[in-house]
């Protein structure tokens, strides 16, 4: 008998600030977190905007001598995890640490550290490259640092599937709890990709919005005038726990992870399969895993990047799976507000999905002004909507054609 998997804590660091309340208040209000990039000079760049976290200071949460040995993506994860553990009210002193784990999704890892150390290598020579260069840049160090910070001695793993990383991480953690391999897992994702190299590389792919004159209007999933995604950064953390363990300690159970589905397009390194078969398959597998069908799904939290390719293909997949119900099911992209946080995106979408069920409000897809005939579903345009939501599907599709879909259900 598989164990049921509860979500018992939510934490996040986003461009809106730290914590689920500030995130959901801003999402509900339909606010954009996108602004001009301030962390480096963008004069030579076609895209000059991102959903950047301004004035982030991890030393407000952990000793400075520790945080300076962490890349920004690890700092985000550390602060978000601390926030989530606090929310879960878990007493770390009383835990069996061998059954307490960490599973995180990370797309890039410490690219900023690589860039800084490479500059030192070129300008000052190999003898000045920091001994912290390696432990700061490797993508598994967010999870590694969390295990050290919180004493988690069970599973400690990192999943990397680009923009689907955090979704695959949550699915992996849920399976470990279902099988009885752990009681509690800190899971989610983290990313800090706003640096000159990543911005230039995505720009060269023509993937980014160039709407620099109107940053808040730049991320416009499903809108006909969309011109690419907007980079974001941050971390989302969900605490997953076996029902047994959560009930024993009288924990607040926000929701349960009812199912997960994973597939590959096997089509192209960056473009989604135009037939949407990979996305469709992941959705069907997730519903099957959850032992449910589309009649139960009240909301789809979309991948919804705002690229020309993603939005109509995701729409096509939803229609293939949902049939006529596709037109009656709200589909929302919070990337319209938070930008695309890549390896963290699915974790922030999980925090949002669970918050929707708790708050009874669906946040809007903002900047949806001109309908696209190929994107003709109910995307909850521009205004939040009150609704009783008991079952949410979240979509995530990564470069490499790697798809992951999760099903969250409310718990009575």
């Amino acid at each position: 008998m598989q164990k049921r998997v509860a979500v018992t804590g939510l934490g996040c660091v986003t461009a809106f600030g730290t914590g689920k309340k500030i995130l959901f208040d801003n999402l509900r209000a339909g606010k954009s977190a996108v602004s001009l990039i301030s962390s480096f000079d963008t004069s030579d760049f076609k895209t000059k905007i991102a959903a950047e976290i301004k004035n982030f200071d991890a030393s407000l949460y952990f000793p400075k001598n520790e945080t300076r040995k962490m890349d920004r993506f690890t700092q985000f994860a550390a602060v978000a995890a601390k926030d989530a553990l606090l929310d879960s009210k878990i007493d770390l002193e009383k835990l069996d640490k061998s059954r307490f784990g960490v599973v995180l999704g990370v797309g890039f890892g410490g690219i900023s550290t690589i860039l800084e150390q490479h500059k030192i290598l070129l300008e000052r020579g190999p003898r000045r490259v920091s001994p912290f260069g390696v432990p700061m840049c490797i993508p598994n160090m967010a999870a590694g640092n969390l295990s050290i910070l919180f004493g988690a001695k069970g599973v400690c793993e990192t999943v990397s599937t680009a923009c689907a990383s955090a979704s695959h991480a949550i699915a992996a953690a849920a399976r470990l709890i279902q099988r009885g391999n752990a009681d509690i897992i800190i899971c989610g994702g983290s990313e800090a990709p706003i640096n000159p190299l990543v911005l230039a590389a995505f720009s060269s792919m023509q993937a980014l919005s160039k709407r620099n004159a109107e940053p808040e209007k730049a991320s416009r999933p499903f809108d006909k005038e969309r011109d690419g995604f907007v980079l974001g950064e941050g971390s989302g953390i969900v605490i997953l726990e076996s029902f047994e363990h959560a009930l024993k300690r009288n924990a607040k159970i926000y929701a349960e992870i009812a199912g997960a589905g994973s597939s590959a397009d096997a089509y192209h390194i960056t473009s989604p399969d135009p037939d949407a078969k990979g996305a469709e398959s992941a959705m069907r597998l997730a519903l099957l895993d959850a032992g449910t069908n589309v009649s139960e799904v009240d909301l789809v939290v979309a991948h919804g990047t705002g690229t020309l390719a993603n939005d109509p293909i995701e729409t096509k997949a939803i229609k293939a799976v949902f049939g006529e119900k596709a037109y009656k099911t709200p589909v929302v992209s919070i990337k319209s507000m938070l930008g695309h946080t890549l390896g963290a995106a699915a974790a922030l979408e999980a925090v949002a999905a669970v918050s929707v069920m708790a708050e009874g409000v669906i946040p809007p897809t903002i900047n949806l002004e001109t309908p696209d005939p190929e994107c003709d579903l109910d995307y909850v345009p521009n205004l939040a909507r009150k609704a009783e939501v008991k079952c949410v599907m979240t979509d995530s599709f990564g470069f490499g054609g790697q798809n992951s879909v999760l099903i969250f259900k409310a718990v009575n």
Binding site: P63, R127, R128, P131, P135
Partner: protein
């Protein structure tokens, strides 16, 4: 003066507050400083005094006084 400058570098690098005393007898090992931090501190000392400390010398230092004496011997020779 060599020792004072070294102590400043260590204090600043580790963000130690003034209540923690650093003396010539202080050893980085006894202060339980991460070995990777030691490497960075040595880099900063090398930059500050514009010298290069050979790796094999590092094993001969027992405390910060030894480091100061070595730098004195190099700078004043």
């Amino acid at each position: 003066m060599y020792f004072e400058k070294i102590a400043d570098i260590v204090r600043h690098h580790l963000a130690l507050d003034e209540s923690i005393k650093i003396t010539p007898e202080s050893s980085l090992k006894e202060m339980k400083i991460d070995s990777l931090d030691v490497v960075e501190i040595i880099m900063k000392i090398e930059d500050a005094f514009e010298i290069e400390i050979p790796d094999e010398k590092l094993h001969e230092f027992h405390n910060l006084g030894d480091v100061a004496n070595y730098i004195k011997s190099v700078k004043e020779s």
